[in-house]
């Protein structure tokens, strides 16, 4: 078995796990954990196709991963800032209590 289908299966499972976390967790920060897992799965796909796919002299795959990591970091920073702001209002990170953005 070539490594490419194995890697794609791994990243599919990781993506599904992240999606499951996003759908079932109640703590907002743990939902962010699920989103990071999904980002990571997408990055594994890019690296897999760069390494085992057709020749990629322009380094499109690694380039995509670099930009995806930068954007994931930005997303996490803004997301956590919003979560902390909500926490100051409601003293909770439970989604069932964070049902209003209006302070």
């Amino acid at each position: 078995m070539t490594p490419l289908p194995l890697l794609l299966t791994l990243s599919s499972l990781l993506f599904t796990l992240g999606l499951f976390a996003v759908l079932t967790r109640r703590n907002v920060i743990l939902i962010l954990v699920g989103i990071e897992l999904m980002f990571n799965a997408a990055n594994i796909n890019f690296i897999a196709f760069w390494r085992y796919g057709p020749p990629d002299p322009d380094l499109i795959g690694p380039m995509f991963v670099l930009f995806a990591i930068a954007i994931a970091a930005a997303e996490a920073a803004v997301g956590l800032a919003i979560i902390l702001m909500g926490f100051r209002h409601t003293r909770s990170t439970d989604l069932n209590r964070l049902d209003s953005l209006h302070g």
Binding site: T2, P3, L4, P5, L6, L7, T9, L10, S12, L14, T16, L17, G18, L19, F20, A21, L23, T24, R26, N27, I29, L30, V33, E36, L37, N40, N43, I44, I47, R51, Y52, G53, P54, P55, D56, D58, L59, P62, M63, V65, L66, I69, A70, I71, A72, A73, A76, A77, V78, L80, A81, I82, I83, L84, M85, F87, R91, S92, T93, G103
Partner: protein
């Protein structure tokens, strides 16, 4: 290939723990472990720079940010995560299993993928830098603008929340002294002020 065979079960186990464990801090640390193992895999197949960036940015910044946020917002409702409602689990599985099946089906059908004989060699940093600052220079500039905006935005969020909460407390006090019309003001004024050591 051996690196993949060794690392992929570990990555999956760590991700499963990050999704399933009830305690938030454990879940966040297992997310960090997942990202570390992925970075190790990148290092093993020759994407050195990507692996190091993953280690520094994902593990060093994002995962630690998540852990610190969990510690800041730590409250008494950790036990609520343990009491998972079966309905939520059923709905979550019903939404994720089709996605997984579609992904696996499309992978199994893609039989005409090019063979792994033409594996890309490890790239040099000079190659990466040249591509980054010539071909992808507009994207680099865009990301720079994005990161600046994010930095300013996060700082404004952090400061603005504090200022607005002080302002709201003041308005609640004045309104409360004249006529307590707003229930939110009542709950706000009776709410226990946060002490530094409540955990």
């Amino acid at each position: 290939m051996t690196a993949l065979l060794i690392l992929s079960p570990l990555i999956l186990l760590a991700a499963l723990g990050a999704v399933w464990l009830a305690r938030p801090v454990h879940a966040a640390l297992l997310l960090a472990l997942t990202l570390v193992l992925t970075a190790v895999y990148y290092l093993a197949i020759g994407a050195d720079f990507i692996g190091l960036v993953q280690l520094m940015v994902y593990v060093g910044a994002v995962a630690m940010l998540i852990v610190f946020s969990l510690l800041i917002t730590r409250s008494g409702d950790e036990a609520e995560e343990i009491a998972r409602r079966p309905l939520v689990m059923v709905v979550g599985l019903a939404c994720t299993l089709p996605v997984l099946l579609v992904l696996l089906h499309s992978i199994s059908r893609a039989g005409n993928l090019p063979p792994g004989a033409a594996e890309s060699p490890a790239f040099s940093l000079a190659q990466l830098g040249t591509a980054l600052f010539t071909t992808h220079a507009p994207a680099v500039l865009t990301v720079a603008v994005l990161l600046t905006a994010v930095m300013i935005g996060a700082a404004l969020f952090a400061r603005g929340a504090h200022a607005s909460s002080v302002h709201r407390d003041a308005s609640c006090v004045t309104e409360f002294s004249s006529a307590p019309r707003h229930a939110s003001c009542l709950t706000e004024s009776t709410r226990k002020p946060p002490t530094p050591n409540d955990s």
